[in-house]
Symmetry: D2
Subunit: 411 residues, 4 copies
């Protein structure tokens, strides 16, 4: 065991971020380095829970970053911009990490916009080649980027995490197609006719990398895409990182259920000002997001509760996000009462440690030879696939059970 542990600590874990120049990726990368080098306090990493120690998660020091993006930028520039806009990344950290960040920048490759990317395209001319090439060729190019990363960095494990802006939902046909139908669709389409999420997920599978969909984009993990991953024996999980308002919902709704209070309506409004918000001001992209956010409450409280989630882009807020929720419930004798909450968080700060956690959990799963959905990671997602348990506390129990099973295996 000790030997294995020592090996673990010298592992090199590749974490490949789709949307590498976005605020979340930038915060994940700068933050990982800043915590590893003890510049910043170590807060918010679920993997630090002592009850998960036996999993032997890769240390932050073991992580090597690379990624895809459709915009031309640099992590260094993005970090500086975040620093001056909302102060979540300190300028002095960035200055001290200049060498490391430049190295990551050299490992970012051109991504793909794919079908339905109108709102994303509108953000600025995305990089060139990929649109009229065949889908198969595009997947091949993306997976070669991954393989080259694995080889040049001598990685022991590789996890792809999708942090790209939310895409419109997949069509009904895409959501229900078989693996064969997906294969034949890939054969006859150009890259521009296929959702980017599908292209990235297939490329990850082809290169033997685990795939985590942190975005709301459903095209990353349709049943067919998932079957594609299972065939390649890689683990996958998603969708839509549970960072703020939905996290609170999943912690609070069980309280109402446990006390058998009758929640009549639970409506929430989110205002946010980052690029994610801008993309979401496109109605079709917003639909994906509302879809993943809206499933939590009925799953816990039953279908009788009237829910509604509003999202508005308010530029002045930048990366700050404010959510207001109003819960109207009846108690004993039908008496109406209410609860309101306001959540004021910084999206990237809430999400970044989850990205690092998920990559490390996926790495464990790969080491253990697991493939397909990592159900023990449900607590991280607004819409965990194959999982109708949305109670945060029970989701956590599954994670601890997974860790306990590890222990008993080892002993």
């Amino acid at each position: 065991l000790d030997d294995a542990r020592r090996d673990d600590s010298q592992r090199r874990l590749g974490v490949w971020l789709i949307g590498a120049f976005g605020s979340l990726a930038t915060t994940s990368i700068v933050g990982c380095l800043a915590v590893a080098k003890r510049f910043a306090p170590r807060i918010g990493l679920v993997g630090d829970d002592p009850r998960l120690a036996q999993l032997g998660l890769a240390p932050l020091e073991a992580i090597v970053f690379g990624g895809h993006d459709v915009r031309r930028s640099s992590i260094l520039d993005e970090a500086v911009a975040i620093s001056s806009e909302n102060g979540s990344l300190r300028r002095e950290w960035i200055d001290q990490l200049r060498t490391e960040l430049t190295a990551v920048d050299r490992r970012v490759r051109t991504g793909v916009v794919g079908a339905g990317g109108g709102a994303i395209r509108a953000l600025g001319a995305p990089a060139g080649d990929a649109e009229d090439v065949p889908a198969r060729g595009c997947i091949r190019r993306l997976s070669e980027d991954l393989r080259a990363f694995r080889n040049s960095e001598r990685l022991d494990g590789l996890v792809v995490v999708n942090l790209a802006s939310t895409e419109p939902p997949p069509t009904t046909a895409e959501s229900t197609e078989s693996l064969d139908a997906l294969e034949s669709r890939l054969d006859r389409s150009t890259a521009a006719q296929v959702r980017a999420g599908t292209l990235y997920a297939c490329a990850a599978a082809d290169s033997g990398a685990a795939f985590v969909n942190f975005a709301a984009s459903g095209s990353c993990l349709t049943p067919a895409v998932e079957a594609y991953a299972v065939r390649a024996t890689v683990p996958v999980m998603g969708s839509d990182g549970k960072t703020g308002e939905t996290l609170v919902k999943s912690a609070l709704a069980p309280m109402f259920r446990a006390r058998r209070l009758d929640v009549m309506s639970w409506v929430g409004f989110n205002i946010l000002g980052n690029r994610d918000g801008l993309v979401l001001s496109d109605e079709s992209n917003k639909r994906s997001k509302l879809g993943t956010k809206d499933g939590v409450l009925p799953a816990i409280l039953g279908s009788g509760v009237r829910t509604r989630v509003g999202i508005e882009y308010v530029e002045s807020l930048g990366d700050a996000k404010v959510a207001w929720d109003h819960i109207h419930f009846r108690g004993f004798l039908g008496h109406p009462m209410s609860m309101q909450f306001t959540w004021q968080g910084c999206d990237s700060i809430l999400a970044a440690p989850l990205v690092l956690d998920l990559a490390r959990f996926a790495d464990v799963a790969m080491r253990r030879g697991e493939c397909g959905p990592m159900l023990h990671l449900a607590s991280f997602f607004k819409a965990p696939i194959h999982c109708d348990e949305h109670d945060l506390h029970r989701q956590y129990e599954r994670l601890f059970d997974y860790a306990r099973r590890t222990e008993s295996k080892r002993s």
Copy 2:
């Protein structure tokens, strides 16, 4: 099994409420009858959870009410006043329940104010006899009231629930005395020198009734009083029903812990306008309440969090209670964020179903021959005795485990 169940349903369960003319007792009594007779919807009863079905809780129809109070009033009058002040009890229910309520009123006996009851006395001249009598005589009188109730109503079980206004905390000597020391204190004191909570709890034990302390008053369940109850082989539990702000804290704080967010401060302010609030505007009575409310967060989040609970009496609110909580926390990289919530509840409405639940759970414990602290009922209390688990979800797991153990015993 079927036979046993049928018997259960014909049980007569006596529920004796200390503070019988208070809003909570009145709401519990009128509400129990209104739900049993299907006037009002059945909401907010934890015991209705299907996972607890095997416990065979007494049906609401089986409950017979009686009680002690130090004020002269009637449940009927109190119900009418509640109806016109906050509308939680509908006038038409009261009209239809006139006979039943009058019957309960006939079963209310004069209570005892005891030591430290200045704020309670100030509410209006309490009823006469009890103050300069010896403590032992007072306890005897109270327990005879209970025995008479049991006999005249042909009860199968009897549970005493303390709903009286919060008393000042017990002295340090009282909190740490032995059973022998308590006995000798009772021998040499008058009733006016002993906290009422102690007198009631001893009377319950002497008459073989279970005792539930729904108030914050610590004198009901000091170690010595608890030993007194154990010696009498009756079950007990408390203290301080967890109905509103603290309930939310115990559901929400585990979320921050699970995500390893660093909660720096969590301060709350409560405003309320009922008699409970008026008594709490007396500083020494308030101390009891703040004591029970303030333990939850450190138990879940550790001692580093700065907590503070303010309570203010605001007459215009009546039985409505508003609590505002502000949670200041640091996330990844030490970034500060915050959450606020406002809870707008009606205290009696939130508490009344818990009173009915607790009486029925205590009845089960008595039937099963259990005595001493009912640890599986921790989720009902702000300061559950002998329990350092304040995570609401884990507290509920204990209740479900208790029910499961029942099942396996039976099968």
Copy 3:
């Protein structure tokens, strides 16, 4: 002067409510009677301000109600429903006012739905005759209802107040047409081709009644309709009673302006569950409402502020309305700060006294021979016509100035 005053107090003021069976009309009628008869406390009447005493407003006792509605119902039934749903009208008042309410019910006539009333029609089959008759015929019928009311009740003055559900906005052509164009449109259209608001407003003018548009429906007071009223020498005012969130905005925004704070965004969300909310869940009707709500902030704070008003129908709330506003502003050195407020009001209760006030102020204007827009009443409206002053405090100064001018005239 004393003689005139005595006469005033014996005046009979007719108040004709469009939407007579709605909650606002019902609350206005029951409330006026309940206050006049001293059943209920006298709160919320702007006209009771001592600084307005010299205007000699008609006393509540002088008011005689009638109205139009497209639904079949009765004020008595609506009042009972309101009483049991949200308790704002006490059952005992209704019981004691049965005779008076029945008398009002006898004075309610069938209204008209007009063009664009899809959402209103969907609420239930509206009453029959009016739709395919010529617009002129419909106006004639409506104004005859008014004249009959005036004669049979021997009224000294008559004010029509539009409380009907919000209609879709008028078309651009309608908003900009001349009086001649309106006349020729009325000549060639059926009633079903003209917005109901226009039909009612013309009928009021034709019968010599003042007209107050308390709804958001712009068709009541287009320039052409206003010219129609001026020609008939009747006073008019509107639009959209300022009762809740917008009222707060107009009181609070001047503070930010006075302190020269830079309000970057001010977004609000309203949730409500009454019939008004249901009609507003129709997108085209909602557009009218958002239009009137959204002008206040830019008028006070300039065009730089990003505003947004969301409205959602949440049935469980009934007539309660909850609005949450988030104000994001920069102070000295560009430092960002924020303010949030939650307004929890009962729409009908907030609006009803304004209806009574407006009718009485319009009555004064008629007595004084004024016609056209009553600009001194701007403080009552979200979108006061011909008025770009939205600062609540300055709007009030205009009202007090008007009263002072009265005084100097008289002396």
Copy 4:
């Protein structure tokens, strides 16, 4: 006129800050320089209102800072600390202003703690000489500091602004004594027996400087101290800068009054973490603050409203301040409704521009030969002396009237 204006712009206005090393003074000084040099945007200066242009306020460029403090520190160090703690002062501004800030630091002299300064002393050993010297000697020393500042900097005008931490309230005797009694008290006391506010205010008067009490400390402007200033023909004003929660109250309460809504209770809780908050956690110092905060609502809404202001020190908040207010009111027919607001501001950022404004308004008053209370500045204070108008909007009207009177004088 043009000549006078040109002269004005070359004036040198001395602004002497008591509590020069505090966050508010530091923010005022750094901010004034940063805005004057166009590093930072120009926001939050009331004096920039075009309607006040004719007053000819001194430009920010004309201001020369000096001050007293009882702690040993430097504005440069304090600015760096503020920058890293809450980011309201940007590091790059401080770096570019190093020369200017060092110059100000050289002009800071040792202050005086005076009577009742226990909480202030506890913050760290204050500088030495002043405590057992006679009060007269202390005043002489302080006023010599002011005269030396005026001479060495060739100032055209001098304003002293008290920004020191809140002192305990003056005794009743002090609050009511005559000028003669004050004189004789100063004759026979040591500096340690007199409140610091009194010593500073007398020193300002003795040196011919205007005096503005921005703190809540009542000892600065007792009737006797005011008479002392009037005798010296200098203008004075105070007390307690109206920056946050109270500002909102004074803007919002008039709305409830105008609509004749019956505010039953208005309770607020403030949490804050700066040095001001720490000093306020001392009960006697807090009393001063609560006194000035609590007068606004009764003045506007009448004595029937139950008010309560809570203040709690919550270290994690630093200079951020959060206030939650709950307003419970009755509308038409006595129906209860409520409004809540949360104000999240940065105290120093809200207050600093007011300090600069007040100094410049006081300078105008001196130039115009005015002395005694500057009543037109009431809008800046929670407890404006000699002023029972707390309606923010009317207070502003007084300021604009003052400016208009200037105009008519000039023309």
